[in-house]
């Protein structure tokens, strides 16, 4: 336990930042990449989680619990958002029988 808890001192903060940035970028790329709304939602989760990781890393580095509390709240919000988002997807599926994000494009210009 002691070893684990001191991991932050062994692993440079840059690594976590880098990892987080990578995850965030991958998530973002996924949002751009996919057409399946559910997949996009998953990519969004990925992005949220990269933020979580970053916050936790910083929190650990600063020895400040508020960062981790923030992560807790982000989880709450993410859960709520997923609930709403999936409800919207369900509604959409019901209306247009598809989960293609580009299918809904009546509102334009």
């Amino acid at each position: 336990m002691k070893e684990i808890s001191s991991a932050i001192q062994l692993i440079p903060l840059e690594n976590y930042i880098g990892l987080s940035v990578a995850l965030f970028s991958i998530g973002m790329m996924g949002v751009l990449f996919r057409r399946n709304t559910i997949a996009i939602l998953m990519c969004l989760e990925l992005m949220f989680n990269s933020v979580n990781l970053l916050l936790t890393a910083f929190s650990a580095y600063h020895s400040d619990p508020s960062g981790q509390v923030f992560v807790f709240f982000i989880m709450i919000v993410a859960a709520a958002e997923v609930a709403v988002g999936l409800a919207i997807v369900v509604m959409m599926k019901r209306n247009v029988d598809s989960v293609d994000i580009n299918l809904l494009n009546r509102l334009k210009w």
Binding site: L13, I17, S20, F24, G27, M28, V31, T37, I40, L44, M47, F48, S50, V51, L54, L55, A57, F58, S59, Y61, H62, D64, S66, G67, V69, F70, F73, I74, V77, A80, E81, V84, G85, A87, I88, V89, M91, M92, N95, V96, I101, L104, N105, R106, L107, K108, W109
Partner: protein, 457 residues
């Protein structure tokens, strides 16, 4: 604080009233709740209280913005009485969600910790994602909600990433502490911090639909039910700017150079893009959406001018803007009904012939939006220009002046329709309450223009 609690309580009460299945009592109760909240809010005037480890600061700034939003919400609810008349399901939920969204807006006006800002934005947004999709069978409503949600979440991730970066550097979420932390760099911020701040600003900018993060707003405005559009165009914008101002005023001002330049670019872009896109717009709701982007630009101008009175001007501008926008939506919904669901500008034709007084009030409202004297809209723009010019931002002010001209063009284009003859006049029936609302707002817009109202903040 008590106002906030009362508001949430009323939200829940409304939810429960949904079980009673009596639509007629919903709006009155909701409005009672809003009025009570209003009274409680005003009672806190000049107290300047801080709550929960400075998580929230209820000062005059937040109270005035809260009151402004409450008044607009009351207007919208009054509008809702007639609007929701035909709707069978989920009326209570709609009211409750709006009240919850208002709660989020309250948090946004009074936060001093980024977590409260984050929560506020989310509490405001999530109900709106739902409300935008309020007409479940309508594809357009569905699409609006879908787009709003996806883009909103996407923006939120950036916002959060920004917070994380700022936290990483400063180890705090408290705005004053962040401010202190930033101050030690004397304007030369390390890139990480800069990017973090940029992401936070972008997150908020997205919510108020600043170009180039405005893409959601025309689609969502158009697709969402009109009442919700009115709510989004007014309350959400007000809340967004309150948050924006608080963020800048309490934490970030004076902004480091590159960030400030970025915001100026956004301001200019908003003015330009909104105006240009609105120029040939034929859908009224979309037109108002684009024009809202322009107004955002003006509000940004006021905010970025960094003067003691910026807050007052911002408040005045948002309130006057909201006051003119809501009744326009009311007029619009009547015309839409008369024309059997069309949303084109041409539905306004023949308005002057059928209901001259309504055309007159529409003139006043559009004039206010266009910024012509003697309406309050003019005064609002005037004050914005005073701010920006006195702070020496001459170039952008001139640019804004030119943009104001374009704005006048499309508002008067609408007006011209209203004063043209209609080919097929359909009978126009106006609900008395809505008529009263239009008249009250129109008169208020005039009076606010003539007898200037200013809040010492």
């Amino acid at each position: 604080m008590s106002a906030l609690i009362l508001l949430t309580v009323f939200g829940i009460i409304i939810l429960y009233l949904g079980f009673v299945n009596n639509k007629t009592i919903l709006a009155p109760v909701a409005i009672t709740g809003l009025v009570a909240t209003l009274i409680l809010s005003v009672k806190d005037w000049n107290l300047g209280s801080k709550y929960f480890h400075d998580m929230m600061i209820i000062d005059n700034f937040s109270i005035s913005f809260n009151v402004s939003m409450l008044i607009i919400t009351i207007l919208i609810f009054l509008f809702g009485i007639n609007y929701y008349d035909r709707m069978e399901h989920h009326v209570a939920e709609q009211y409750a969600l709006m009240i919850f969204a208002l709660t989020g807006a309250f948090l946004m006006t009074s936060f001093s910790n980024l977590i409260m800002l984050f929560l506020g934005i989310e509490i405001l947004s999530i109900p709106l994602y739902i409300l935008a999709g309020g007409k479940k069978s309508s594809f357009r409503s569905n699409e609006a909600s879908f787009k709003y949600f996806l883009l909103g979440s996407f923006a939120t991730t950036f916002f959060l990433f920004g917070i994380a970066l700022v936290y990483g550097a400063s180890a705090t979420f408290y705005l004053p502490e962040i401010k202190n932390y930033i101050a030690q760099f004397h304007g030369h911020l390390p890139p990480m911090l800069m990017v973090g701040l940029l992401f936070i600003l972008i997150g908020v900018a997205f919510k108020v639909a600043v170009a180039p993060f405005h893409f959601w707003s025309p689609d969502v405005y158009e697709g969402a039910p009109t009442l919700v559009t009115a709510f989004m165009a007014t309350v959400v914008k007000t809340a967004g700017f309150a948050a924006f101002y608080r963020l800048l005023g309490m934490g970030l001002l004076p902004l480091p150079g590159p960030l400030e330049k970025t915001l100026w670019v956004m301001t200019g872009l908003s003015l330009l893009v909104g105006n240009l896109a609105a120029l040939r717009q034929t859908n009224f709701k979309r037109l108002l959406a684009y024009s809202a982007i322009v107004h955002t630009g003006f509000m940004m101008l006021a905010m970025l001018s960094q003067h003691d009175s910026s807050a007052a001007v911002l408040l005045y501008y948002t309130f006057v803007y909201s006051l003119a926008t809501v009744p326009l939506f009311i007029i619009f919904i009547h015309m839409k009904r008369a024309s059997l669901g069309l949303e084109e500008l041409s539905i306004f034709r023949g308005l002057y012939r059928q209901k001259p007084w309504m055309a007159v009030f529409m003139t006043i409202l559009l004039m206010s939006l266009a910024g012509l004297p003697p309406t309050a809209g003019f005064l609002a723009k005037y004050r914005v220009f005073i701010l920006s010019i006195s702070q020496g931002y001459l170039a952008i002010s001139i640019f804004a002046v030119i943009m104001a001209v374009i704005g006048i063009y499309y508002y008067f284009y609408v007006l011209r329709e209203a004063f043209s003859e209609s080919n097929s006049p359909t009978p126009l029936v106006i609900n008395k309450l809505n008529a009263a609302l239009i008249i009250v707002c129109g008169t208020a817009v005039l009076l606010l223009g003539i007898f200037v109202w200013s809040v010492p903040i």
